[in-house]
Symmetry: C2
Subunit: 262 residues, 2 copies
């Protein structure tokens, strides 16, 4: 295990009780005491600090928006990303089995350890300190997302985009299903007739294929340039950044050339 000085510097927090930090870094595969109770505590303090931050700084967001943004800020992949900026993996204490199978790279192990560290800082330094630490780690994340679209799936984003331009809803159609029952592939097309857009994609579920097709349709609309109706209100570039990629089974994509670029 590397010296914990660099980690404490990266966190901008120095522990009075270094044992708490060591416990936060100890996966259950390594033995007792491990970090799971600290993770329980850290999960709830993280949720609270992020909620407070969003509530105080975004009076324009309603409850649904606040919940959507919060859940995407505290989810496993977001925490694993922050853990990587802290080089957390070199500090983890894992059992033999987890070490050999590359557990120090597993997003779940990284995310859990980061939550445990938050719990440990709260116990060690109290609420003002953990609030400061979490806010400092999340500022760069918040600076790079568009809160209006963050965490929305491609189908939702596409629907809002075409409605904002005054067009009818996108139409999805399953063109074919291929393969055996346990290993099916769905071919789906997403059509927005008034824009001449017809995007085809495949996925291991109908939902995954539709999300992939919606993702391509958003790119196709952005390639059309700003719509006249909403050009003053909406910067289309803002839609391209946070589009969630349909990861759950999207396998291939076939970009059709839009037939009509009016």
């Amino acid at each position: 295990m590397a010296s914990l000085d660099s980690l404490q510097a990266a966190l901008d927090y120095r522990f009075r009780d270094g044992g708490l930090l060591e416990r936060a870094l100890t996966h259950r595969s390594h033995g007792m005491p491990h970090n799971e109770r600290l993770e329980f505590l850290g999960d709830s303090v993280l949720n609270f600090v992020v909620s407070t931050l969003l509530f105080a700084e975004h009076a324009e967001m309603d409850e649904g928006d606040l919940s959507r943004v919060r859940s995407n800020l505290v989810k496993q992949s977001a925490l694993a990303d922050i853990a990587q900026t802290l080089s957390l993996s070199v500090h983890l204490r894992l059992g033999e089995g987890e070490l050999k199978s590359g557990g120090f790279r597993r997003p779940s192990i990284l995310a859990d350890a980061l939550e445990a560290i938050f719990g440990a800082i709260y116990l060690d330094g109290g609420y003002p300190e953990i609030s400061r630490v979490i806010e400092r780690l999340y500022r760069p994340v918040l600076a790079h997302i568009d809160l209006r679209t963050f965490g929305k799936d491609p189908k939702t984003l596409l629907q809002e985009l075409v409605q904002g331009r005054g067009h009818p809803l996108p139409r999805y159609e399953v063109l074919a299903t291929r393969g055996a029952a346990h290993d099916q592939l769905f071919d789906v097309v997403c059509e927005i007739a008034p824009l001449g857009i017809r995007e085809q994609a495949s996925g291991t579920s109908r939902r995954a294929a539709e999300q992939a097709a919606a993702s391509q349709a958003i790119a196709a609309i952005e390639a059309l340039g700003p719509a006249r109706r909403t050009a003053r209100r909406r910067k289309p570039a803002q839609l391209s950044l946070p589009v969630a990629v349909a990861q759950d089974g999207a396998q291939s994509k076939t970009r059709n050339t839009p037939q009509d670029k009016t």
Copy 2:
């Protein structure tokens, strides 16, 4: 709306900004500003305070136990129960439609308003005050539950009970399904052969019927009196209090007489 003095006395908290309390009591059906953003904030402060309390006072509980107890303490029905001890319903501000349909009795509306009040107290008085208020409201709840069993479903409780007595797992069997496809009723039996227990119950799903049968089997085991093997470790009466009732479709129950009460 009744005077808010009585509510503040029941909460043991007096607002500096009475407008915050009024907003916390305002359902969206009544108009803006309503309580939904405060509910977002209150949900997370409640979760945090309860987590801190459980973590600090129950070193014997592992992460799974802590999560199980927390989620059952902060769920809608638990919050609605606390809301009733505060007579919250007489203070709610509802729109015409909700008023007529008895919205002031709806558990979801009561629970949401209570969470909003927690958010409002946090904004008005800071963390120490909301921590004190929540802890005071939850002390009586915590005093009346058995943390080892709280929130566990009957099947889980029954399994732990029979394993604790050194018996094999309960056996569940579907005896019959009755009715049309959209309105089926399942007849299930739960058998613990070494104890001569055979309990039969019905439900609108296999799961609901099994939970109902397990619930009856627990009662039947308790009627047998304390087991010799574990009499010193386990008070059987503790199992009867927090048994979650299988509400999702249990319709009738047929108590069979245990064939053998050794």
